[in-house]
Symmetry: C2
Subunit: 410 residues, 2 copies
């Protein structure tokens, strides 16, 4: 039951119900969770850090800290962000309880019920749940292999009778689409927003997880482009580079936005765990992140390659997908009359789960995609999982050929 | 600077500014913080727990968990709450990132801008900041040595044109007033709420910190009284019985309230740190809490006795105060024409800080009280601190005698 809840983290509620009913007790093969595999965590490094903490620092782990964050961690993050080319001095860092809290804080700071938020389509489902809970009116803009559709973004902004509060994007190794924005597209995006007064919320949880050193430059944050007339709030996370269990994230913003954000944060949970911040800081300050990332990148690259190999070997020809340059996700494209929810129904009974396309559509409709995550699937079960999945897809395709398209519309 | 931010945790923003200006670099004696002393934390016990975690559990520390909480911790909390006489089976537990998050979740679940919340006066300042951030209309009701003023509560409810969303109270070892509600007063409070549809939000962060075993029964939660026609949400915290740095709290509520709360929690930070939950759970499950509480109670009793001794020895006769039966706080009463903010101005220049009375008044006005916390002051500096504080009080009293009362009103 517990392993279950973990596996289903970002799944659609109806898919979860089906999973509970169909697969309870089964030895699932999951391509669903957007989390690192338990075997990849830097357990030894944290052991070493914890056990060599000076007595005073260990006591401080147990104590309240300042709302804005543990000051040495803020210092370490400044160095980490400078290294990514980000302008830290004119901005301020707020430590948050996971980067989802940063998204939540920004939403509480700027959005009242009925206000407009722009998102990508598909969009990270965690952010969608924040925006929906706030009662925002979500308008989503399609993305292609290079990023958000600039024309569609422009005409969306022009068509609205009110100014959207912000545009939320995840440009690097997009969840769920697996793409990375081209530098050109990032530039165009900034040009569209320039002068509109629409804030850009740039969520960057995956940029350290590029596969090739010579593609690292592609991850350059828009906040580091030096554009002065777009207000950019940048959020980052320790979830993919240390562990989600730490619940450590941060936001980098102008001082004005920071100050209000700090007040909101104070009213949300007073401060983020000092214990987790102190361990996280030592991980950065003792230079343990660099070698760990080298290890992670090669692990994820291997998993990405394996998944690509099995997809190529077993998927029917009607199915297409991307080959990601980093991150966790492959975004399968189905023929447009096939719904991934049908495939889920089929595959879950055989013990394979993934996340259905509609999960990432703010309108919960568009369903001709499915997200496969390769970050958390045991390498030695991937092949079996993909065989089962492709059988399920073939079955649904077969059924669709023997049925008139009308009957498939739900 | 950092020790500073810690010392000022719950202080009024203007008092903090003064503190920064006047006392920067000084070796402060602080009666301000409502936190345990760093030397009292169960560091050895957590060391032992951490270092004997099985490998699998250690890995799980790094991972996401279910939004509602780490299931073994929920089980342990069920036992802990049953032991306090609470009805667990008809209710559900939600683990939160500190109990302040529980208050924040309940507020987001029930309160829209302009809605009414009832509080005590004085009221825990952390809760006030949540209610203010939500844009609630706060109506506060005075308390006396036995709890909330029942007559005032009744007539407040009758006088309002809209139903308050909930009444927020901290009945056990009140912060800042240091009182505990009498069983009679708890009963009367429930009678007043009965049938009104006003939810009772019962915040119980201190009940394990009674000084005398034969007074333990006084801490009995109203949620355990078996009253059926008052909806009670009960919140608790690990901050005072393990460490605030863990950011672990919980709420116990009906299933209906739990379900909405879980959705709000999902949009706030996805889940509470598994790392902190696993350590917290082992602390409970390995029966380390009981012996630790025995140690804590005797430590706090000793500090309480010391503070009472020095207050009796040095305070001018115009000053009165309570002798708490548990918890952290003494709530000094000044002559009504003296403002604690004046005393703060005086004492801070001599290196002694506390929290001013107005901090706990929703209207930020009532200022004839001051809160002394004895939980975090080094025992060997208490006497010096109280001498300095009483000198400051005497000076302000003296000044008030040589000035006409009109000139004192700000």
């Amino acid at each position: 039951m517990y392993a279950f809840s973990n596996a289903v983290n970002s799944m659609h509620s109806e898919d979860i119900k089906l999973l509970m009913k169909q697969a309870s007790g089964k030895n699932l093969i999951s391509f669903a969770g957007g989390m690192p595999n338990n075997d990849l965590f830097p357990v030894e490094q944290i052991d070493e850090i914890y056990n060599s903490l000076p007595e005073d620092l260990k006591k401080l782990c147990f104590q309240y800290g300042p709302t804005s964050g543990y000051p040495p961690l803020i210092k370490s993050l400044e160095a980490y962000l400078r290294n990514k080319g980000l302008e830290v001095d004119d901005n301020k860092i707020l430590i948050t309880t996971g980067s989802l809290q940063a998204i939540s804080i920004v939403t509480q700071e700027f959005v009242n019920e009925g206000d407009i938020i722009l998102t990508e389509n598909p969009c990270f489902v965690g952010a969608l749940s924040v925006f929906e809970t706030a009662g925002a009116e979500i308008h989503s803009i399609p993305i292609d292999k290079d990023g958000i559709d600039i024309k569609a973004l422009k005409s969306k902004i022009e068509s609205l009778d009110r100014k959207p509060k912000f545009l939320y994007v995840t440009p690097n190794y997009h969840n769920p689409a697996g793409i990375i924005y081209s530098p050109q597209r990032k530039k165009e995006l900034l040009e569209v927003l320039s002068g509109t007064g629409i804030i850009l919320l740039e969520d960057d949880a995956y940029s350290d997880l590029y596969f090739k050193e010579d593609e690292k430059h592609l991850t350059k944050a828009m906040k580091s482009y030096g554009v002065k007339d777009v207000e950019i709030i940048y959020t980052g996370s320790f979830s993919k580079i240390l562990g989600p269990g730490f619940r450590l994230g941060f936001m980098l913003s102008s001082e004005e936005i920071f100050e209000k954000a700090e007040t909101v944060k104070q009213a949300l949970d007073a401060c983020t765990s000092n214990f987790m911040q102190i361990l996280g800081n030592e991980f950065l300050a003792q230079q343990k992140l660099g070698p760990y990332l080298t290890f992670l990148r090669s692990e994820y690259l291997e998993r990405k390659d394996l998944l690509q190999k099995y997809l190529k070997a077993y998927m029917p020809e009607e199915i297409t997908w991307n080959e990601p340059k980093g991150g966790f996700y492959v975004w399968l494209k189905l023929p447009s009359h096939i719904r991934s929810t049908e495939i889920f129904r089929e595959s879950v009974t055989k013990g394979v789960v993934f996340v259905t396309g509609r999960t990432f559509d703010p309108a919960s409709k568009k369903d001709d995609r499915l997200r496969l995550s390769f970050s958390n699937t045991p390498k030695d079960r991937m092949e079996e999982g993909i065989i089962i999945l492709s059988e399920a897809i073939k079955k649904v395709l077969q059924k669709s050929k023997s049925t008139s398209p009308d009957q498939l519309v739900l």
